[in-house]
């Protein structure tokens, strides 16, 4: 350890800085979790330990409805987006002689290059022009669009990391295109496909701007519902709901990150 001071890659004070950085990252999450167990009615003044806000949260029908809407939208949108993204990635990474490859890839990733509020306006105007009324359908279509690049990027990364010779070896051993895809390509890129689907799911669950813009249809998603709760005043029940959301997000994130890491 005597070498620490002479190690050329070390900078003084960096460790302290990083500790503060992690404090900044986790303080808000810790605060929400902490106050969710607050017995007091005030959101940020401690009045003893209690689970009562979890009980009332789980009996809140409006909340459960919002969760149901969000889950429906996120499940359908992420499944469609992942399928579409997987097909696009196969062509863009593996296809031979694809014309306009760069342009096509930019188009698939288009939602990443625009602030979401612009996208929200775009779909709002689209739906008002074609006269689509059904709330959930509108949400699913809009969410599918902006989920596609989030599903696409991990799949593409995985495909790019997969050397061509595995597929060539399969063909060499008498596997046709479909067998090659099913038995060699798909198992190899499966972690990327799962990670992409998971990311798309979380992005859809998390969406606020598009959902609030399209809200007229009457389908309230979870973030929109939470926003309305915040508007009506900070409450411990909100903390309990937030804690549950944090818990679910962290579990999903851990699964997705673990999948991405496994090579």
């Amino acid at each position: 350890m005597g070498g620490a001071k002479t190690d050329v890659k070390r900078y003084p004070g960096l460790g302290l800085f990083v500790v503060l950085f992690f404090f900044y990252l986790y303080l808000p999450i810790a605060v929400v979790v902490f106050f969710s167990f607050n017995a007091s009615k005030l959101a940020s003044i401690w009045g003893g330990f209690s689970m009562r806000w979890y009980e009332s949260a789980l009996q809140n029908d409006a909340l459960l409805d919002a969760v149901k809407t969000s889950l429906t939208v996120a499940t359908v949108a992420s499944l469609v987006a992942t399928t579409v993204a997987l097909m696009a990635a196969l062509v863009l990474v593996r296809g031979k002689g694809v014309k306009f490859r760069k342009t096509s890839e930019t188009i698939v990733n288009l939602p990443l290059f625009l602030p979401e509020v612009v996208l929200a306006v775009a779909v709002l105007l689209l739906f008002s022009n074609i006269g689509l009324q059904q709330g959930v359908t509108k949400l699913i279509i809009a969410h599918t669009t902006f989920c596609i690049p989030f599903a696409f990027l991990p799949i593409r990364a995985r495909l790019q990391g997969m050397t061509l010779d595995l597929e060539e070896a399969a063909q060499d051993l008498y596997a046709g295109p479909w067998t090659t895809f099913r038995k060699v390509t798909l198992p190899t890129i499966a972690p990327g496909v799962f990670a992409g689907a998971m990311l798309a799911f979380v992005i859809s669950m998390d969406d606020f701007i598009t959902s609030v813009m399209l809200n007229a249809g009457g389908a309230t998603t979870l973030p929109v519902y939470i926003f309305s709760l915040i508007r009506s005043g900070v409450s411990p029940e909100l903390n309990a709901i937030s804690t549950l959301i944090i818990l679910v997000s962290l579990v999903l994130a851990s699964i997705a990150l673990a999948l991405q890491r496994r090579s």
Binding site: S104, V108, V121, A122, T145, L257
Partner: protein, 293 residues
């Protein structure tokens, strides 16, 4: 080996979705921004420059145009906040990413995981958390007055600073990942070579490490700047609706203010700003390529 037609059929769904739900609707935004506000909200397809005029002027008592900077102020604030957010994210991310990249084995994996984790938590929950921390009787106010350091600090919310804290918190993971990737790729022998050639720590940092990590920093800056420009939740909750950003302005026009053409015009301005950033970035990349070629 040859999948006849798969190149076409495989790409078609993605392209079709983007065409129908993004490219064509963006065209509609542009058209609507040049049309007339409808009598009961919505819009009529009658050509008008009214919305763009409204960005700069307001109509006075006697129908004369008066220069009114209220919207320019919002646009200016948005650009300033987005730029500041990007700069702060970069300043925080670089040392943190550097620190993580220098760790070994499991520790590195864990730290990287911990850095990404908060990003997966719902944005609205993360911004809401700052409401509890910064608000009146919130964590900071409450703790300080309990300790008797400051009495009645009150709310720290509803100012540019609070918005900045929230914006940085929301988007810092988008910066740290690309910066980390570029530091991780850096050959440690280059740092050693710099020291070997009598470059000190700081000289090495500015002359060797930072220039080599520039691609990652630029990528991160674009990733942070674009969503910051369109931020809606942070100004709504932490800015309290008084300190508006362009995103709120747009949302309001399609919501309670019901002036769709004007909302569309602001959206067009926002797209223009994003385009400007992308073009600058592309020019920079092209110039760099020309230098190395």
């Amino acid at each position: 080996m040859k999948r006849p037609g798969f190149n076409f059929w495989g790409l078609l769904p993605a392209q079709l979705i983007m065409l129908l739900t993004m490219i064509i609707p963006i065209g509609i935004i542009v058209v609507v921004s040049f049309s007339t506000r409808g009598a009961y909200g919505g819009f009529d397809y009658i050509f008008s420059l009214e919305s763009y005029q409204r960005l700069l002027f307001s109509v006075g008592w006697t129908d004369e145009l008066e220069f009114n900077p209220q919207y320019l102020l919002i646009i200016g604030r948005t650009i300033l906040l987005a730029a500041t957010t990007t700069a702060i994210c970069l300043l925080i991310s670089f040392p943190a990413a550097y620190f993580i990249a220098q760790r070994q084995g499991q520790l590195k994996v864990i730290l990287l995981y911990l850095v990404t984790l908060p990003f997966w938590v719902s944005m609205i929950v993360r911004v809401y958390a700052w409401l509890i921390i910064l608000g009146k009787n919130g964590v900071i106010d409450g703790t300080l007055s309990k300790l008797g350091i400051v009495d009645n600090l009150g709310s720290l919310l509803f100012n540019n600073g609070a918005m900045l804290v929230g914006l940085v918190y929301s988007y810092v993971p988008l910066m740290i990942l690309p910066v980390y990737a570029s530091i991780e790729k850096l050959d440690p022998a280059l740092i050693e070579a710099s020291h070997d050639l009598y470059g000190g720590r700081w000289k090495t940092l500015f002359r060797v490490i930072a220039p080599l990590c520039k691609p990652g920093m630029v990528a991160g800056a674009v990733l942070v700047f674009i969503p910051s420009l369109g931020a809606v939740i942070e100004p709504m909750l932490l800015g309290g609706g008084k300190k508006m950003m362009m995103g709120n302005l747009i949302l309001n026009q399609f919501g309670m203010d019901r002036n769709w053409p004007f909302g569309a015009a602001v959206a067009v301005v926002m797209m223009g700003l994003v385009m400007a950033v992308m073009i600058l970035n592309a020019l920079r990349a092209a110039r760099k390529q020309a230098e190395t070629a």
